[in-house]
């Protein structure tokens, strides 16, 4: 395998990862608009975002190479994986303690 094909593969991988990141961020956005209540929105806001930002950062790491900034973006990835669910949990917990009843099928509140 020559250096050129390797380089091409890397570029395409970066493109693919970026598109995946965009896709999951888009899903996250649609979910926040579409879903009925704070709990289900917290689901999609954090989770699809984890993958959205995750693929985005993976693309960054691949672009800049594994030294220096690339390594930092891998660390950022870990950071997101720890903080994202924690933030979602904090929001849901606050809602629960406020006594907000989760939406179920047949509930006419939007």
């Amino acid at each position: 395998m020559t250096a050129a094909t390797l380089e091409a593969a890397r570029v395409w991988l970066v493109v693919a990862l970026t598109l995946l990141g965009l896709f999951f961020s888009f899903v996250s956005m649609v979910g926040v608009l579409r879903l009925p209540d704070v709990y289900s929105r917290a689901h999609t806001a954090s989770q699809a975002d984890t993958l959205g930002a995750g693929f985005g950062l993976a693309a960054v790491a691949l672009t800049v190479g594994l030294a220096g900034a690339g390594f930092k973006s891998v660390l950022l990835l870990f950071f997101i994986f720890v903080t994202n669910p924690t933030a979602a949990h904090a929001i849901a917990r606050a809602a629960f303690e406020e006594g907000i009843v989760p939406w179920i099928e047949g509930d006419d509140r939007r």
Partner: protein
């Protein structure tokens, strides 16, 4: 008779039962006689403390010796029937290392009971010879979360053994990681037991959320912060190394009592890290798989969502293992951990598919694998253990612990004025 009671010493893991049957009978019969002699020599301010037995929860602390001295002296004066020295287990039988920790607890209890016996022998008070010394290990058959569980275990033991008074060592914390819990003393005030903190001098006044400072924690945190600093900087550049060492020293000095709640141990800690690295790709795959399912439901308007709140009792230790499990559940799309009330996790699920996956408990098994090893990961699923409940919808088996939980009665905007929040009462305990 001021002797130790070996059968109740918790030599077997089921020491609670042993103490109940063995020592309990002795204490029960002795209580009446002690009450009479106690009335005669009533000097203590606590008028109701004369008759029954005293429970002292024991942990190796710096003030334990003086607490024991105080307990022995006051028990002899009041004519208490027995002093129960109990260790509340911070392990669960069957977990790795539980044997070591039980043995360590045993040694502490042995030493403490020797102290107590010696103090009673030295005591001039007339009641001293009648005080019995009993030791027991409590609660080793389950994970205990939070002050409420400890109080429950203590209260059960007190009832079985005719004890009515608890004396707390001022430095006593049941396990290392109860950092944000309400004090045991406060939780005990809701029981019929009378509670007293031994009036002994404390070497240092610590803030409540700090844990013990040990060299192991300091070194671990120092190494971790230095490694992180040098990852961001340049490990070959002398300036970065010097500032890194300085920063790590400051960080570990200030935070080693706060950020680590147990001592790093070889080989436990490295093994956990290795198993955690094994777990990561598994978790990533789960996230990806679930994400695709949820993305499809979100993007396709024809596919309905069926969110419900669920409850699942999980068998992992409190602190880091519980956090790992709760965060893994939240990271997996379709399930969101809303609350952790002791070992009950309240999980909101977006789809029945996600809920079933949750009840299959694969994340729980993986968390147990990471923290306790492969053998501990083999356990029945939460569904098989009957530790799950759906709290909403047609399949609901339990009521939602929210005041306005019966569904339709909610205003259109979701605001309920009269929401008496059921979670207020224990809001402090379950962090």
């Amino acid at each position: 008779m001021a002797d130790t009671d070996p059968p109740a010493g918790g030599a077997d893991p089921d020491a609670t039962a042993t103490a109940d049957s063995g020592a309990g009978a002795t204490v029960g019969s002795g209580a009446g006689a002690a009450a009479e002699s106690g009335d005669a020599s009533e000097t203590d301010a606590e008028s109701d403390s004369a008759a029954g037995a005293v429970i002292v929860p024991v942990e190796p602390t710096s003030t334990l010796r003086s607490t024991i001295a105080h307990v022995a002296a006051s028990a002899a004066e009041d004519g208490a029937s027995a002093i129960h020295l109990v260790e509340i287990a911070s392990w669960r039988d069957g977990d790795p290392e539980s044997d070591d920790r039980a043995a360590a607890a045993e040694r502490v209890l042995e030493r403490v009971s020797a102290w107590t016996t010696a103090d009673l022998d030295d005591s001039e008070a007339p009641g001293a010879a009648d005080v019995e010394v009993v030791t027991a290990v409590l609660g080793a058959d389950d994970y205990l979360f939070g002050a409420d569980d400890y109080v429950r275990v203590l209260a059960e033991y007190a009832e079985a053994n005719g004890a009515d008074r608890v004396v707390l060592d001022p430095e006593y914390t049941p396990v290392g990681n109860t950092t944000l819990l309400q004090p045991l003393e406060f939780a005990l005030s809701n029981t019929p037991l009378s509670v007293e903190t031994a009036p002994v001098d404390r070497p240092t006044r610590r803030e409540r959320f700090r844990t013990e400072a040990t060299t192991g924690r300091f070194v671990a945190l120092f190494g971790l912060s230095l490694a992180f600093y040098l990852l961001l900087g340049d490990p070959t550049y002398w300036f970065d190394v010097v500032t890194g060492v300085a920063t790590a020293a400051v960080v570990s000095t200030v935070l080693s009592r706060v950020s680590l709640d147990s001592n790093p141990a070889i080989p436990r800690t490295p093994m956990r890290i290795v198993r955690g690295v094994i777990y990561l790709p598994v978790l990533l795959f789960e996230i990806l798989k679930a994400n695709l399912v949820v993305a499809r439901v979100i993007l396709d308007p024809r596919l309905p969502i069926e969110p419900t709140m669920n409850r699942m009792r999980v068998i992992v230790g409190s602190g880091l293992p519980l956090m790992t499990l709760a965060n893994s559940i939240t990271l997996t799309p379709g399930t969101l951990t809303v609350r952790a009330r002791d070992s009950d996790l309240y999980v909101h699920s977006l789809l029945p598919w996600a809920r079933e996956g949750l009840f299959d408990g694969s994340l729980e098994r993986w968390t147990r694998f990471v923290y306790y090893g492969r053998r501990s990961a083999r356990l029945p699923t939460p569904r098989e253990r009957d530790d799950v409940a759906i709290l909403q919808g047609d399949d609901a088996t339990e009521e939602l612990p929210i005041a306005a939980a019966d569904g339709g009665a909610v205003d259109a905007d979701g605001e309920t004025e009269s929401t008496a929040d059921p979670s207020d009462a224990d809001g402090v305990t379950d962090r």
